[in-house]
């Protein structure tokens, strides 16, 4: 047995071996980031350098002075007063207002249609339920652009004109446009009237606008119907049973009990659908409605100012998206269930 000398100090523990730097968890992340950042910066510098060189060679260096030049083209249907003598920025503004008009009306219509179809998929009536399903499945699997040109060329452009036009109470559908009753001169209620073979009414919408709206509403309506259906399905079944045992009808149950509770699931989903509707409105160019994109395309063809036009387009759509998101976030705060 070896005598132990208590005074003998045990050797100090060896310091843990320091890992090489390429395995040090404090160093590696920063190295990775530095490398990625450097590569991205190099790529951007390369692209921007080329851009400046090529634009200088083409004599198109970034400038906004062309916005003040007269546009020289007309916009057939504009909420803002516009004519060909006005500058380009007025044309772009008119296009933006046209886009906003289509988006706002489209949002309202698609929400109504989507909610109705979403509710219909919980109906007692088997036929109605299946019809809602078929509508959603058909519309979602056909490209929007194809639907738009279908509505425009096959439905709206084959409408009859003059006396033969389709006349509904307060609304007339003709190839020359959609005529809707409203307040006319002297604040009198006026319906569409036929004057010398031409329809006249306080509100006239072009067939282009009609086709765009129909297409957008039918397409987005199907997606919104799915969102609404998901929201209603998320409400516990007991809520339905409790409401009907209290004697509420199907519709009253849905309106008073189920829909208010499903809103907190529906609203975030609606946000996505609204933003994609706003972006999809840029397909208006295919049916001849002069929205922002269509004006921008004409502007580019006339001035050759590709970079500036793209910047305007991207900024406008991004702002529109952010606006919708902000509104929907506000709405979302309102409908969240506050726990006590």
């Amino acid at each position: 047995m070896v005598p132990v000398n208590p005074s003998d100090p045990s050797p100090p523990p060896l310091p843990a071996p320091k890992p090489p730097w390429w395995r040090d968890r404090r160093v590696v992340p920063w190295v990775v980031q530095a490398v990625v950042g450097l590569l991205v910066l190099l790529l951007i510098a390369f692209l921007l350098g080329n851009l400046v060189r090529n634009l200088t060679a083409a004599g198109l260096l970034l400038s906004w002075r062309w916005l003040q030049q007269p546009a020289g083209f007309d916009i057939s249907e504009s909420v803002l007063p516009f004519n060909a003598q006005l500058p380009y920025w007025r044309a772009l503004a008119a296009g933006l207002v046209n886009t906003i008009r289509a988006v706002v009306v489209g949002l309202v219509g698609a929400t109504l249609l989507g909610t109705l179809v979403g509710m219909a998929s919980f109906s007692h009536n088997g036929l109605l339920r299946r019809l809602a399903r078929v509508y959603v499945e058909v519309v979602r699997n056909i490209p929007l652009l194809l639907q738009l040109v279908f509505w425009y060329f096959v439905v709206f452009l084959t409408l009859p004109n003059g006396v033969a036009a389709i006349q509904l109470p307060g609304v007339v559908l003709a190839k020359s446009g959609l005529y809707i009753a409203g307040l006319g001169e002297g604040l009198r209620w006026m319906g569409p009237t036929l004057v010398n073979g031409v329809w006249q009414a306080p509100v006239r919408l072009s067939v282009e606008f009609g086709a765009l709206l129909t297409g957008l509403i039918v397409y987005s309506g199907a997606f919104i119907a799915e969102v609404v259906r998901g929201g209603i399905a998320a409400v516990p079944k007991g809520q339905w049973e409790a409401a009907s045992s209290l004697g509420l009808s199907w519709f009253a149950t849905l309106r008073r009990i189920v829909l208010p509770q499903s809103l907190r699931v529906i609203v975030p989903g609606l946000n996505t659908q609204y933003i994609s509707l706003a972006k999809n409105s840029s397909l208006a160019v295919a049916v001849g409605y002069t929205d922002l994109y269509s004006v921008a395309e004409t502007t580019l063809n006339q001035t050759g100012r590709a970079v500036e036009v793209i910047l305007v387009l991207l900024a406008a759509y991004l702002t529109l998206d952010l606006l919708i998101s902000a509104l929907m976030n506000g709405l979302n705060h309102l409908v969240q269930i506050r726990e006590r």
Binding site: P29, V32, Q33, V36, G37, V40, L47, N50, L51, N54, L55, A58, H124, N125, G126, L127, L128, L131, E137, V138, R140, N141, I142, P143, L144, L145, L146, Q147, V149, F150, F153, V154, K279, N280, S282, L283, V285, A286, Y293, E297, L300, A306, V307, I310, L313, L314, Y317, L318, D321, L322
Partner: protein, 403 residues
Amino acid sequence: MKPVLRRLRAELFATPADAVLSTGLIAVLSLAAFGFLRWAFTQAQWAVIRVNSTLFAVGRYPVEEQWRLWLLLWLLFAATGLSWGVLRSHPRPDRSGVLWPRNDRIAATLLVVLGLWRPAAMGLSLSIQARWWGLVALLLLVRWLAGRFGPRFGPLGLRLVALMWPVLYLVGMVLISGGLGLVAVSPSEWGGLLLTLLASSFAILLCFPIGVLLALGRRSDLPLLRWGSVLYIEFIRGAPLITLLFLGQNILGFLLPGGLAPDRIWRAAWVLTFFAAAYLAEAVRSGLAAVPRGQLEAARSLGLSYPKALQHVVLPQALRVALPAMVGQFISLLQDTTLLSLIGLLELLGTARTVMANPAFLGKNAEVYLTLAVLFWCCCAALGLGSRALERRLDPHAVPSAT
């Protein structure tokens, strides 16, 4: 009362209000169906589709080189039959070893009926009709052979089949575009369904790795990677696709040194890819969020490196959760290829527009657009069906244990 009648009554005529609604709906639906059928069989002139079927299929692809596309089609049908047969015969715990279960018999019957009837109904020439019959026969024959003799190869067969598709894709690209001794066919001559499928398959294949990387970047702890991914994803998602395509056509030429910018079709395909990657990243991110953090920590504590942990533990779970959303993105990508017609490319919709600009077919909008709609609907619905089948197959809870 018979059960069918009883069910009908419960579904359609439970209350007086229901009865009124059902009767109204039935009346409207039958009127609409009658009107449509009358139009389709008496007024519609389907000659526009029959005469232009080649144009719709492949665009202006040179006639003397079209044998290459036929060859590719033969290869594709053979490969489909092979995969179908091998997959069906591969033993799985949840499946009886029947080679022709009911679904397969229905699918095969549908295929035979379509293959026999459709080419004849479209009035294709007899030689082309015979080719379609041959293709269907080949598919079913290969499927039978693979199902009969495939199991002998065991798991190796499955791996070979999985490897066959990427190889076939490359072979297909060579057959279509030329090279390796074949006459080059420039992309400007591709069109119709060929261009639609090429652009969408290219974008689907390439957007997948980019999207996964972006999703990982967005969930990374490294601030630079995270903010870079967020910026990219939100920028792309904030802009309509058409403005991005427009950007690709008009600005890409300025961004690259002279002469390096790709052909118009490839530019559009790349824009589609980068566009889809941003949306796919969001789908994958939702899947990643569904994997508990403990999975990654457990894998790391077992000594797997970070990439290995992602590859073997996290991503398989995340991608399975994200599968429906991802296929949804692929479907909308397939639909988005129609936007190429707005920048002057002749994919299916663009071809349709050139056809209808021909004075002989002026005003045949309804026939052409309906045909395209049916075509797109079938493609998208097939993708959706495939996705649901794959989901069922990958669902770990649905498979009974093989005890």
